[in-house]
Amino acid sequence: MNETVLETEKLDKVYKLGGRSIRALSDVNLQVKKGDFVSIMGPSGSGKTTLLNILGCLDKPTSGRIILDDVDVTTVPEKELYKIRRYKIGFVFQTFNLLPYLSAIENVELPMEGTGKSKEEKLKRARELLKLVGLAERENHKPLRLSAGEQQRVAIARALANGPSILLADEPTGNLDAKTKYEIVRLLGKLNTEHGTTIVMVTHDNAIASHARRVLFINDGKMLSKEKMGLFAKEKLTCPACGREIQITHVFCPHCGRKLSN
């Protein structure tokens, strides 16, 4: 867990609106190691989406550098950026952004379009991923026939299609009810612990943020120096009722059956 996947140096982002300029990010320095699960917590308007869009190469910083897998993506020309987005980054949106006229499996296959994979390979990979997110039975459903939580699972599967170096999730639980929120964040946790997926998630929800390994804080476009250990960082979790070891993915204690809060 020492290899750095993502590193930013002095990221600044200034929006110019009419005559006014808004400093959405200032001097953001971030380091994400392989296999890490970082959540960035901050109030609404603190610059979380701005940061994530820039990390996901959807937007450009006003200044600063982003090194992803040893490549300074700020120097990659616009025409070549799609390769970074396609192969290095998996993006999960708050509003899922699935294509409504495509089935679940077609949505998952979509990022593999143009990668030279055969139809069978794409289908096989998409099935694997849907199984991984627990939707193997729903592959032919259109997004509108899936619940919000299921749609976000499809979106996560889609983000993983090309085996990205990093998964970026912008308020992935923002549009979900309390119960599904935890399901989704536990799914992210499972991907991280069982499959080694490197994840950066931004949220304004304290309870959700604490499910990561590291919790960072952002306010007014600046990263705060404090850092918290998330639940996933702990070596062992124990059931508060019976004291025996549990997994973070458990909703009920497998030993005493008590419902576990977050």
């Binding site: 869009n53 996901g56 959807l58 937007d59 025409k79 799609y82 390769k83 987005r85 396609r86 192969y87 980054i89 993006f91 949106f93 952004n97 294509l99 979509l110 990022p111 379009e113 143009g114 889609r158 983000a159 299609a161 090309n162």
Partner: protein, 444 residues
Amino acid sequence: MRTLLVVIALGFSIAIMISIPAGIMANQESMQTLSENLTSTITTMQEEINKTATLIECSTTPNQGMQTFRPGGGFFGGVNETFINESIVDEIYSINVSGVRVVKDVIPSLEKSSSENITETITTPFGNRTVYRSAYTIIGVCLNSSIISSYSILPTNITAGENLSEGDSCYVLISSNLTEYFEAGVGDTITINGELFTVKGIFESSSQTRTVYMNISDAQRITGLTGEISKLYVYVVDSSYATQVADVIKAAYPELYVTSYQDRLENLQQMQSMYTQTLSNAESSIAQAQSTATQVIIIAVAATSLIVLFVMLYSVRERTKEIGILKAIGFSNWNVMSQFMLEGVLIGLIGGATGVLIGSTIAPFLSSFLIPQINLFGGTQRPQASVQMPSTNIVGLQSYTTVTLSPELILLALGAAVLLGAIGSLYPAWRASKISPIEALRYE
């Protein structure tokens, strides 16, 4: 819904595109036939005229164009018939130029319409007309052995029986379409003006020709025109005298209608120039049609590409968010562009197929609607009645609308539709590919 609009628009313009060339091709084909027919008519007439360089025709009634060479084929009945005394034969025979006899033979004939009449429906370029005409024409010819052997004064295409021969009296040779009228065949006896005649032979003739050939003395007797004739075929010893002799006859007998080789040649030239005029009218009419058609096609193509363009632009705008998503998950500009191009081409293909369907059903209608009729005569001018066109074998005014769609044309149309779809979506697709992902994702 919008796609449907594009498909319909494309469909119609493709229909126009395939109808028009089909119509033009049909026009050109009929033009070709027309030109061939006219040329062969002129050639035949030229040949016929050349054979009669030494012939001067004298008639008591005006010539009727082509009918000059079809004695008795009077088209419209009721021509006032006049006659002249046969003493003229000897008078003309004795014409001399600088003391030299130049007339070789003078062959008299008597043509007289029968007293019975029939009604007949004929087809003219201006519709069907019912005409009232004599049932047949009696032609009395000189049945001298020297004349029969030297000149073809009798029909040659005998289909039954035998031709008239020297000195035959009370025998007739009738045209094939009269067998029904007389209810008689070879060997039967028929009554003409109260006298009995035996049908010696039947000759094949056109439907217009209703003639009965007999000895001139028989004809004079039964028509009560003893010593009268209506026509003279004057043969000069050398064609170089033809004009001169004709002039002498014209001067001496102003009541005769005289046509020499020269006159006939002039007639032919006149006819030829009229045909040429007709052809060039038709040609310019076709050229005009073609340029109109080209304009229509250009307008259709332009309109269609514009419709495709606007619909695709609208579609790109409407799907901005989708484009943002596609780009966010790693679609390249090229991927996005080809996605939209593919859509345009597909619309084009469907539109093209629709067009071929529409076109194949309404092409004849559409092409006759879009292409002006071929005008053979230019302006309002019509062929004058005095110059009769051999109308039976000229492709007429209404014969060109057989429009057929060749497989090549259908393929071409499909290709054009696909091309239109592609061209119309080129710019919108390019616009789509240039959309920035972050802007597009924010778009609602």
